[in-house]
Amino acid sequence: MKSYRPAYFIGEALKGLWRNKRYSIPTILVLLGCLVLVGSSYLIYENVDYNMNSLGLAKEIVVFIDSEATDEEVSAIGERIAALDNVDVANLVYISKEEALAEEADKYAEYGDLLEVLEGDNPLRDSYVIPYLTNEGVSTLVYQLNQIEGIVKINNRLDLAGNIENLKSGILFVLIVYMVILVFVCVFFIVNTIGLAVMARADEIVIMRYIGATGWFIALPFIIEGIIIGVVSSILAYFAQSFIYNYIVVAIGGNFSIINTCPYELVQNEILLGFLAAGLFCGVVGSFLSMKKYLKA
């Protein structure tokens, strides 16, 4: 019965990495650098999105209802809004004027006496927060909302939101271009590193072939070597990214308090999984390309 031991292949891969450390360590550092560059672009993208949401520039329109409208009229307006195209009905939110006042009171709690001047009068209006599905149909939606009797004001920040959406698209484009270029760079480095490891063991490979080793038996330690390079780079890049990001967050927090920074905890899992996927991809593809001729033979 055949019994190929996984420990043999992993052991050979680790020995190969150590033997070839002059090339494998720089490759790990190059991969680490590339991953941090891609990760940084992603974090910029996420932060723009985070700031859009916190500034209320999410894909939503706020309509205010005439203060004279009865509860029945307010509900009827809500039903008409829900019936419109391009409205994300599931997330449509009604905010009563009492809720709006309570929210404002919370927001300005430190100036508690400020609201006392109102002497029980609530100057705010009932409102609906209307999330929409696509940017393309927003103008039509705004027009349709204007036609609904009882709506006295429509708040939308289409221009600003549009500009920020454009910025996001730009960053996303740069991110994708970065990724493509850096994947090529990483694969190139891994192909060369594994190629050198193969050269260092050329005599051993010749012997293996004469003895009757299959292509997979010869190639597997090198493929594992590539995978280890990818995974180690990913993990190191994750910690480096965390350190750099938190350092920048502290700096921004002190000097540019107008910018809200997205907490790293919100994106750390995506960063780790993304890095691992990219590292594994580069490791597997790079080592496969290096070992192609042995896998065929």
Binding site: S3, Y210, G212
Partner: protein, 226 residues
């Protein structure tokens, strides 16, 4: 049984290495293949181990046509052959026993049978007492014995020795030849020795196939275990 049927090998530069070779080697035979430099004997070996493709004709080993073998089948075919080289081709960083065990690792033999087979093979070549030595710590003759042990450990039907005495002194050469003859007689293995050492060939009175300019010049002393 190994059969060469009208085998021709022409290299891309136009060199005709083998020209219509017809040859049959029976199971359990001991055969010397001799010839000068450029005679075609190395090409014949390379064709036999499927390192090169024939230009025309057919090689049949144990009823298996080599031209029909797929790439992925070649390693499994080679497991039926034991190769011994002039330059030993040992793994220098491994010990004597590890070198033999490696041949079994490659084909995925379980540890239990591996230990037993390694011991048997090292006993056969009388290197059991040096099992834990590194290969650079043993003599040239012992290195070739180790290479024979490695070739033998997986119990191949055919052992091909390419200039096995080329790198060792005459006295040790006799020891190597005795070992190959012992494997042939005691274990009924087909042994093919490629050499240019006429003196050695004449001493053992075995079947001798002479190749010259890619053709068989003579084939004498045929028969099993002469």
């Amino acid at each position: 049984m190994i059969e060469f049927k009208n085998v021709t090998k022409v290299y891309p530069n136009g060199t005709i290495a083998l020209d219509g070779i017809d040859l049959t080697i029976e199971d359990g035979e001991f055969v010397f293949i001799v010839g000068g430099n450029g005679s075609g004997k190395t090409t014949l070996t390379r064709l036999l181990i499927k390192e090169e493709e024939i230009t025309s004709g057919e090689i049949i080993v144990n009823e298996q046509k080599l031209s029909k073998l797929k790439h992925w089948q070649v390693p499994y075919y080679r497991r039926g052959l034991g190769m011994v080289f002039q330059d030993f081709k040992l793994l220098e960083q491994k010990t004597v026993s590890e070198n033999v065990a490696f041949a079994m690792d490659v084909i995925g033999k379980p540890k239990k049978s591996k230990d037993l087979n390694v011991k048997t093979a090292l006993e056969l070549v009388r290197l059991l007492d040096k099992a834990h030595c590194k290969t650079h710590e043993i003599s040239g003759g012992e290195r070739q014995k180790l290479a024979i042990a490695r070739a033998f450990v997986n119990e191949p039907k055919v052992i091909i020795a390419d200039e096995p005495t080329g790198n060792i002194d005459p006295e040790m050469s006799r020891g190597i030849m005795e070992l190959l003859i012992k494997i042939n007689k005691q274990f009924d293995r087909t042994v093919i020795v490629i050499t240019h050492e006429e003196q050695l060939v004449n001493f053992y009175k075995k079947r001798v196939i002479r190749i010259n300019n890619g053709k068989i010049e003579s084939d004498e002393g045929g028969g099993k275990s002469l």
